[in-house]
C-alpha cells in the first residue's frame, strides 16, 4: 500500500509546554490507524500539527509533498479534521454545515455528495434546516463526520470522537467509519482515549507517551501486549 501520510521527528510546543518531542508515524492509503495514549501524551497535538493548527518542526508529508502553512492550506491539500468536542458550526443549519465541508471544492457535484452523505445519515436531509446547535451530542458528532466527508478528503483526522457520547452512539459512529473505509477506501487517523474502541476499529496503532511514540504495531498485537492492556485497557 502507498504511504499517504508520513511524520518524521515532529515536535511542537505551546509556549513553554513541549507537547510533542519526537513523533514519527506512517499512514498508508486505505488504512484506519489509531493513536492511543494518556491525557497529555500529545495525541491531539499530533492531529493539530497535521492540520496546521499548531506550529511544529520536523517533517510532515502528504503523498510525498511537504505540508506547510496553516489549516486553510491543509484543508486544501485534502485533510479533513474533525476536532475534539464536535466540530460543527452551532449557529448554522445542518445543510449549511455540510456545504461548508465542501468549501474548498471547485466542482459542481456538491449536491450529489449531499445525497451520498444522506445514504449514511438520512436525517441530515430531512432536518437540513435545523440549527446544528439544537442537535443532540451524537447527532452533532455525526454531522461533523458528514461535513468532513463533503470535502472528499484524502485523509480524515478524528479527535476523540467517543468523548461524552453514549456507548451505543459511539459504536454506530465507528461502524459508519469502518463502512466508509471498506466501501470507499477512506483513510483515517483516529485519536482515542478509549483504547478498546480504537483498537477494534483500526488496523494498526501507535501509543504515545509524553510526546514520543512509545509503541507501535498492528491493533491485534497491541491488544495482546501486556503493558497496553494494563495501562489502556484496564484488565
Amino acid at each position: 500500500m502507498r504511504t499517504l501520510l508520513e511524520l518524521d521527528g515532529v515536535a511542537a510546543r505551546y509556549g513553554p509546554v513541549q507537547a510533542l518531542r519526537d513523533v514519527s508515524l506512517v499512514v498508508r492509503e486505505g488504512e484506519i490507524v489509531a493513536v492511543l495514549g494518556a491525557n497529555g501524551a500529545g495525541k491531539t497535538t499530533t492531529l493539530r500539527a497535521i492540520s496546521g493548527t499548531v506550529s511544529w518542526s520536523g517533517a510532515i508529508e502528504l503523498d510525498g509533498k511537504q505540508l506547510k502553512g496553516g489549516p486553510e492550506r491543509s484543508a486544501r491539500a485534502g485533510i479533513a479534521h474533525v476536532p475534539e468536542g464536535r466540530g460543527t458550526f452551532v449557529e448554522l443549519t445542518v445543510t449549511e454545515n455540510l456545504k461548508l465541508g465542501a468549501y474548498t471544492r471547485r466542482d459542481r457535484s456538491v449536491k450529489a455528495d449531499v445525497a451520498r452523505i444522506a445514504e449514511y445519515f438520512p436525517w441530515m436531509v430531512e432536518r437540513g434546516g435545523q440549527r446544528a446547535g439544537t442537535l443532540s451530542g451524537g447527532e452533532q458528532q455525526m454531522l461533523a463526520l458528514g461535513r468532513a466527508l463533503m470535502g472528499r478528503p484524502r485523509l480524515l483526522l478524528l479527535d476523540e470522537p467517543s468523548l461524552g457520547l453514549a456507548p451505543m452512539i459511539v459504536r454506530e459512529f465507528f461502524r459508519i467509519v469502518r463502512e466508509l473505509n471498506e466501501k470507499e477506501g477512506l483513510t483515517v487517523l483516529v485519536v482515542e482515549q478509549d483504547a478498546r474502541i480504537a483498537l477494534n476499529a483500526s488496523r494498526r496503532a501507535y501509543v504515545l507517551e509524553v510526546g514520543r511514540v512509545a509503541l507501535t504495531g498492528t491493533s491485534d498485537e497491541l491488544r495482546g501486549d501486556e503493558s497496553v492492556r494494563r495501562s489502556y485497557l484496564g484488565y
Partner: protein, 305 residues
C-alpha cells in the same frame, strides 16, 4: 377636520421616521457586521461614512459626474477602502486585547475626521438629493420624494446584503468565519480575508448611509456623529449581534423619535424638543443594556464552562 389633519401629520411623521430609521439601520448593520467578526464596536464607522460621502460629493461637484455613477463609484471605493483599513490597521492588532482594537478605531475616527477637514475644509457643503425636492400629496398626507427614495435605497441594500449572506458561498463563508473562525479555517475558509471583506461591506453600508444623510442635513465633517449615536442605539436595541435586529432597531428608533416630536406638537410630552432626540437615544441604550442586554433579537451570551 382637526382629527384628519392630525392623522395626515401622523402618517407624515411615520414616513419620515422610516426614512431616518432606514439610515440608522444601515449604519447599525455596519456596526453589527464588524462586531460579529472583529468583536468590537467600530467607533470610526461614522467618520468612514463621512469620508465616503465627501468622495461622492467631490466626484459630482468637482469632477462633474452625475449622481448615480458617482454613487456606485463611491460604493466601490469605500468597499476597497474598508478592506484596506482591515488589512493595514486592524489586522496587526487583532490578536490580543480587544481594547487595542477599540483604541485603533478611535484613532481612525480622529484621523479620518482630521483628513477630511484638511482636504476639503470644515465649512458645510451641499450634496444634492438624487430624488429631488418634490413632495407628493397622497390623500392629504404630504410625502417627500427624498424620504421615499431613502427608504427604497435602504431597503434595497438590506435585501441585497441579506441575499449575499444567505444564498452565496462567500456569504456562508463570511458567517462561518464570524461565528467560529477556528472551525472555519479547518474547512479551508481564508478567515482573515473574510474579516477584511466584512470591513469592506461595513464601509459600503456606511457610504450609503452617508450619501442618504447628507442631502437632508448638509455635508460637513461631523455630520455622521449624531447618526452614529442613533446607530449605536438601534444596534443595541435590536441586539448587537443580530443583523435583523439592527434593521428593526433602526426603523423603530426612527419612527419612535418622530412620534415623540409629533406628540409634543399635540400637547403630550410637550417638553420634548429636537434637542432631546440624541439624549433619548442614549437613554434607550442605557435602558436596553440594563433590562435586556442582548437586545430584542439577540440571544443571551452563553459561556461554555
Amino acid at each position: 377636520m382637526l382629527i384628519v389633519a392630525a392623522f395626515a401629520d401622523f402618517m407624515q411623521q411615520v414616513v419620515s421616521g422610516l426614512a431616518a430609521g432606514g439610515v440608522y439601520a444601515l449604519l447599525a448593520l455596519a456596526l453589527v457586521i464588524i462586531h460579529r467578526s472583529t468583536g468590537v464596536i467600530n467607533f470610526a464607522q461614522g467618520e468612514m461614512a463621512t469620508l465616503s460621502t465627501y468622495i461622492a460629493w467631490n466626484l459630482t461637484v468637482n469632477h462633474g459626474w452625475s449622481y448615480w455613477p458617482a454613487f456606485v463609484a463611491t460604493l466601490a471605493i469605500s468597499f476597497v477602502g474598508g478592506v484596506g483599513i482591515h488589512r493595514v490597521v486592524i489586522r496587526p492588532v487583532e490578536r490580543g486585547n480587544v481594547l487595542r482594537i477599540v483604541i485603533v478605531t478611535i484613532g481612525l475616527l480622529v484621523g479620518i475626521n482630521g483628513f477630511v477637514i484638511w482636504k476639503w475644509g470644515g465649512e458645510p457643503q451641499q450634496l444634492q438629493s438624487p430624488f429631488g425636492t418634490n413632495t407628493y400629496d397622497v390623500g392629504g398626507v404630504v410625502i417627500a420624494a427624498n424620504d421615499i427614495g431613502t427608504i427604497a435605497v435602504a431597503l434595497a441594500i438590506v435585501v441585497l446584503l441579506w441575499a449575499l449572506f444567505q444564498f452565496t458561498k462567500v456569504g456562508l463563508a463570511l458567517r462561518a468565519a464570524a461565528v467560529n473562525p477556528e472551525e472555519a479555517r479547518l474547512v479551508g475558509v481564508r478567515v482573515t480575508w473574510m474579516l477584511a471583506l466584512g470591513w469592506g461591506l461595513a464601509a459600503l453600508l456606511g457610504a450609503v448611509a452617508g450619501m442618504l444623510t447628507a442631502p437632508a442635513v448638509g455635508l460637513d465633517p461631523n455630520m455622521m456623529a449624531p447618526v452614529l449615536i442613533y446607530a449605536f442605539a438601534a444596534a443595541i436595541l435590536g441586539g448587537i449581534d443580530s443583523p435583523l435586529g439592527a434593521v428593526v432597531g433602526g426603523l423603530v428608533l426612527g419612527v419612535l423619535l418622530n412620534m415623540l416630536s409629533y406628540l409634543s406638537q399635540y400637547g403630550a410630552f410637550d417638553w420634548f424638543t429636537e434637542e432631546l432626540r440624541l439624549p433619548t437615544a442614549l437613554l434607550i441604550i442605557l435602558v436596553v443594556l440594563l433590562v435586556r442586554p442582548q437586545g430584542i433579537f439577540g440571544r443571551p451570551e452563553m459561556k461554555r464552562v
